[in-house]
Amino acid sequence: MTTPVIELHTVARSFGGIKAVRDVSLKLEEGEVVGLIGPNGAGKTTLVNCITGVHTPTSGRVMFEGRDVTNQKPFQAARSGLCRTFQIVQPFPEMTVLQNVASGALFGQKISSLHKAYDAAHEYLDFVGIGEYAEMPASALTLANRKRLELAKSLAMKPRVLMLDEVNAGLNSAEINGALGLIKKISDRGVSIIIIEHLMKVIMTLSQRIVVLHHGELIAQGDPRSVVDDPKVVEAYLGEKFAKRLTEENHG
């Protein structure tokens, strides 16, 4: 039995009096695609922040490839292969698209020469499909292409685990389909993925397993179909009354 790529042991994170994440334990196996869902404010992004070193958990442990990385700093996480994208895309505004991706190759992958980094960057740009925009300033891209840029940058870091935080926010359906295909391609390359998403179509298509957070707690976990029917999950999203009604209708 192989070691899970990521293991969280009762990870908790509080901000002052607010418990954003409460004792969450979960595992991510190599090559899996896990969907992380939950209502707004459930603590999904905070959890990802705890895994990537942006926040240090108030208690609990984060294990990556069997090593305890609870106290790591963000750049250490990035270099060891724990990469993530952001809801609000943050490119380096004055650099070109190529340079942005090259930064991932230079620092995440630790290529030492600028020249080699640029060459590698071209590959990743082509992979995500924006190779033609290499010399454009990053700030001039459309939103959909900026999301692709984020992906290319993360891929340039040669991630073992990629955490996607609402990559599809703001995209139209054609763009979403494109993104879906791209994420599948990335998964096929062997990258383990955690994807935070609100769009059920995306989650259901991509995930082998779904984890549900509510008020910082992990309330359900399992294969997509059963999680979606789980009354606790319905209650979290739609409220107690509706959940009761649904259960009655289903069993009535």
Partner: protein, 318 residues
Amino acid sequence: MSRFAAILFVVWIIVLATTPLHAENYVVRGAIMIAMFSTLALSWNIIGGFAGYPSLATAAFVGLGSYVGAVSQVHGVPMVIAWLLATAVVGVVAAGIGGLLLRLKGHYFAIGSIVLVELFRLIASSWSSVTGGGNGLNVPLLRWEPDEVAQMFLLVMLGLMVLAFFMNVAIKNHRLGFGLNCIRQNEDAADMVGVDTTKYKVIGFTFSAFLCGTVGAVYASWVGYIDPTESFQIVLTLKVAVMALMGGAGTLLGPVIGASAFVILEEVVWVNFLSWNRAILGVLIVVLIFFLPNGILNLRIFSFLRAKHKGDARREKP
């Protein structure tokens, strides 16, 4: 930078280096000052231009270098060794202090760096047993012909300028420069992409400081006398930053252009308007801020001097 710019630079160096052969003493002196300030501006460029951290600590390191150099020479250390010693000490101090100071950002960092200058000045004033306190320190002078002395110092300062220039070139084309640039544009994103921001900032800061120490020590040997008020002037740091900004911070030749223009302007103003020189400097700064916010080198007219650099999107609008 483009070929043309490189040629211009070499020509400029030759012009400065040959001033003793055909010009008056005060011109030679001016050339030394230009070389000196170019070195300081180029050094500042690394932390202020590349990394975007508005350091105002230059004066602290120049002054420290002056004092280490002067005190060593007073105690019999040969001149060049004293210079090397000053460089080493300033480098170590900068690395140490940098670790603390660079945790601060923006305004707080600027203030921290200004306070450093003041603190060093006060310590130099107080510690009279070592530094001579407010009375200053006399440095043993070379027993050469004055012309030869000037020539020697000119060549040394020019050498430092060239060194500082190559340091800038090397860093810009290396991962360090790229990383500092990332830090400048978005420090959080840089962190996320795998840049060890603290390490890079401290390295950048140290690089920007150690030649300041050398300049300080050389200056002390040249002038022969230093005192706390002269050696640790906040105005000095600001001038250096203004020079780099004026020429174009973050570019390679910008600091040289800015320093040269500034020193020449200052000489002209000082000679003709002595009691108003501070005000005129002030007006110059104000004008600069409003009309040349990105510096001379970044004006359209001078685009032929800039590199047609792959992926340099800062000024080209699509």
